[in-house]
């Protein structure tokens, strides 16, 4: 049984899908990183991922008569629009109404969970597969044995997620917008004194975060090619934990996403090979959550979160 797993082809396939499975974690966690660096905790990632996933799925499902509107770019664009809308909602909740951030995200989660399930049952009904993104093999690099299969033969959203790691690192550390994000996340009062609009910077960070969360949902549904109730199954919450794992740095977040990608793809591979089956698969489904707790215990001693995290800014206060 286990010997089936330890063959070169199976291990290469598992690692390749690990890189793919890490993508939704990575996109969502990168977005959450931007938000948290600006001082806003968003636990609604899970809900926004579901909304993004359903949107991309539904747009892609209806290409007949929709013309270009049913195309893959349109599906992804629609997910981005939904993400931006949810960003506006979350900005209203946290920046305008000063809602408690530890709880308000649960509302977004429940809404996303219920609303996507409702729309799926009402508008789709049976789980129809979509034609998702196809892999683009990168010339030359993709031909390297094993390495090429693992890293350089994926769909464009996968490449985008990994390219965003250095891009967001540079954005946070080397641009004015990034400097402002860090300023309002650490000492909003000081930033305000210097003429930085705290809420406008946070709005930008929230919008980016929610767009990336919705994109993560789209990436997820492009992996599975099918939508179902609670498709994300906790991945959005894990993405929030990955920000802590990565100590609020995109590089660290990527390491965490890859770790969870490996766990997810290994669990799936073990199921496919019949090494774990039936009831035991419920036990292996615990693995990511348990791993998250262990990881949090290990990393929690050395890190400092943005000082103003979850603290709303009120000039009059």
């Amino acid at each position: 049984m286990w010997s089936d797993f330890f063959t070169v082809s199976v291990i290469v396939a598992t690692l390749a899908s690990a890189v793919r499975f890490a993508t939704p974690f990575l996109l969502a966690a990168l977005g959450e990183t931007i938000g948290q660096r600006s001082g806003v905790l968003n636990l609604g990632v899970e809900g926004v991922m579901l909304l993004g996933a359903f949107t991309a799925y539904y747009v892609r499902l209806n290409p007949s008569g929709w013309g270009w509107a049913g195309s893959l770019p349109a599906a992804i664009l629609a997910a981005i629009v939904v993400g931006a809308l949810m960003g506006l909602v979350y900005a209203w909740m946290t920046l305008v109404m000063h809602a408690e951030q530890g709880i308000s995200g649960i509302g977004v989660f429940l809404f996303g969970l219920g609303f996507t399930d409702l729309l799926f049952q009402k508008q789709v009904g049976v789980p129809l597969p979509i034609r998702g993104l196809t892999p683009w093999k990168i010339p030359l690099l993709g031909d390297i044995p094993h390495i090429g299969d693992i890293f350089f033969n994926h769909n464009p959203l996968v490449y985008l997620a990994y390219i965003l790691v250095p891009v967001i690192t540079i954005m946070i550390n080397r641009t004015t917008f990034g400097l402002n994000i860090r300023a309002v996340g650490e000492t909003p009062e000081a930033a305000d004194t210097l003429g930085v609009s705290v809420n406008r910077i946070r709005l930008g960070a929230i919008l980016l975060g929610n767009i990336l969360a919705a994109l993560a949902g789209a990436a997820l549904v492009m992996n599975t090619n099918i939508f179902q109730q609670n498709l994300t199954a906790g991945q959005g919450f894990i993405a929030v934990a990955l920000v802590y794992f990565g100590a609020w740095r995109p590089g660290g977040v990527m390491a965490g996403a890859l770790l969870f990608g490996i766990v997810s793809s290994t669990v799936l591979q073990l199921k496919t090979l019949g090494i774990v089956s039936g009831a035991a698969s419920a036990l292996t489904a615990m693995a990511p959550a348990l791993l998250t707790i262990v990881v949090l215990v290990i990393v929690s001693r050395r890190i400092g979160q943005p000082s103003a995290l979850t603290r709303p800014f009120d000039r009059d206060a």
């Binding site: 905790l41 636990l43 809900g47 909602v89 209203w92 909740m93 109404m97 000063h98 809602a99 408690e100 951030q101 530890g102 709880i103 308000s104 649960i106 509302g107 977004v108 989660f109 429940l110 809404f111 996303g112 969970l113 219920g114 609303f115 399930d117 409702l118 049952q121 009402k122 109730q229 609670n230 906790g234 919450f237 894990i238 929030v240 934990a241 802590y244 039936g278 009831a279 035991a280 419920a282 036990l283 489904a285 615990m286 990511p288 959550a289 348990l290 998250t292 707790i293 949090l296 215990v297 929690s300 001693r301 979160q305 103003a308 995290l309 979850t310 603290r311 709303p312």
Partner: protein
């Protein structure tokens, strides 16, 4: 700061704030229902008929009121636990997992000791529920106190672990023998069933237990030395440490008590249900009915005070109970209730700040310009500052 006040002004002043406090969340719920109505119309459903069905289904008669009370029980139990945790400065999002842990442990007791007389077995399963939920709460509590792990994240992960563990148990060890493969236990011993209350409705002992737990929660928080310490730690952990209080122990205790309340809800959901078994079919959320999350809203609705959480839970329970009738009336899938539920959370949580502002305005209005002085002790206001202080805490 005048010490002596006209008695009538004192009374008005005492009433103005809670009234303002109650009005805001009610408006928030109405706003959520309005957005829900737009959703219904977009789905070609008659929103007005739907909401009529909602209100008559929730509060339309004795049976409906009884069903609403049954629906609010787990909300109240979780909500009391939330009051304890939040007042101690700990955010407990783990109600879902704690309900499941309580349900599993109490089910194991009922399966293991089915022959005990009812007078012993019923308290025993409730106690088992409290212990199961208490342990499930104490784990993230200890992780926060001794390993500095953010409790928001750890409690969410504990939810996932509990849900998968229940799914495993009900597919394997505890599944009803010989049955077609439905994820449920056998019907549990008659002696473990919560007795029905007289009156011919479905009301059972669980309702009284939930109210009793709320009173106990009040006594614990506001009439005991332990509660004094928990609230002090929640208010200012650093000052409490200076004063010689055991801050770490308090965090563990707060989450353990909080989990224990949710665990009792788990036991009540099993032994007060009509099928009298633990059912995992349809996922863990179908069993908990999201009470672990909704209890948070009920507690916030009730100003994080165990006693005012009683009416708050009842109103919120009515909304959820009536949601079932709404969904039947307009023929949309049951997922509508979860979506509406999410909207209510969004609007209620967003309204809390406005509530504090309106309360302050009411004070100023009634005392005609003398300004708020000693009003900081008001529950809702205090609650807000505490929650705000909490979430910024060491993660």
């Amino acid at each position: 700061m005048e010490k002596v006040q006209e008695p009538s002004v004192g009374l008005l002043r005492r009433l103005a704030r809670p009234l303002a406090g109650a009005a805001v969340p009610i408006f928030a719920v109405l706003a959520a229902l309005l957005v829900g109505a737009i959703m219904l119309i977009a789905l070609d459903a008659n929103a007005i008929d739907g909401y009529k069905a909602l209100f008559s289904g929730a509060f339309g008669g004795a049976d409906e009121l009884a069903d609403t009370a049954i629906k609010s029980m787990p909300l109240l139990l979780v909500g009391v636990g939330i009051c304890i945790a939040f007042r101690a400065g700990v955010i407990n999002i783990g109600g879902e997992g704690q309900i499941i842990a309580g349900a599993i442990l109490s089910t194991l007791v009922a399966l293991g000791l089915p022959g005990l007389p009812r007078i012993i077995l019923v308290p025993l399963v409730l106690l088992a529920g409290a212990i199961g939920g208490g342990i499930w709460g104490a784990i993230p509590g200890a992780l926060k106190a001794y390993a500095n792990v953010n409790e928001i994240l750890s409690t969410i992960m504990m939810n996932i672990v509990a849900a998968q563990f229940m799914s495993f148990l009900l597919q394997d060890w505890l599944i009803e023998e010989g049955a077609i493969k439905i994820q449920q236990t056998e019907r549990l011993s008659e002696n473990s069933h919560l007795p029905l209350l007289p009156g011919g409705t479905r009301l059972h002992l669980g309702v009284l237990i939930a109210i009793l737990v709320a009173v106990l929660g009040y006594v614990l928080l506001f009439r005991s030395a332990l509660g004094m310490r928990l609230r002090s730690v929640g208010h200012n952990p650093h000052a409490s440490r200076y004063a010689g209080m055991a801050v770490k122990k308090s965090i563990v205790q707060a989450l353990a008590f909080s989990g224990a309340c949710a665990g009792v809800a788990g036991a009540v959901l099993v032994f007060g249900s009509e099928s009298h078994r633990l059912i995992g079919e349809g996922g863990a959320a179908a069993f908990t009915q999201n009470a672990g999350f909704n209890g948070i809203v009920a507690a916030l609705f009730g100003g994080l005070h165990p006693l005012t959480t009683i009416p708050a839970s009842f109103l919120f329970g009515g909304l959820l109970q009536g949601g079932i009738d709404l969904q039947r009336e307009v023929q949309v899938p049951g997922a509508l209730i979860v979506a509406l539920n999410g909207l209510v959370v969004i609007f209620v949580v967003s309204s809390l700040k406005a509530r504090g502002r309106l309360g302050a305005w009411a004070d100023r209005f009634v005392t005609s310009g003398s300004g708020p002085s000693d009003v900081a002790t008001d529950a809702a206001d205090e609650a807000r500052t505490e929650v705000a202080a909490t979430s910024g805490g060491d993660a």
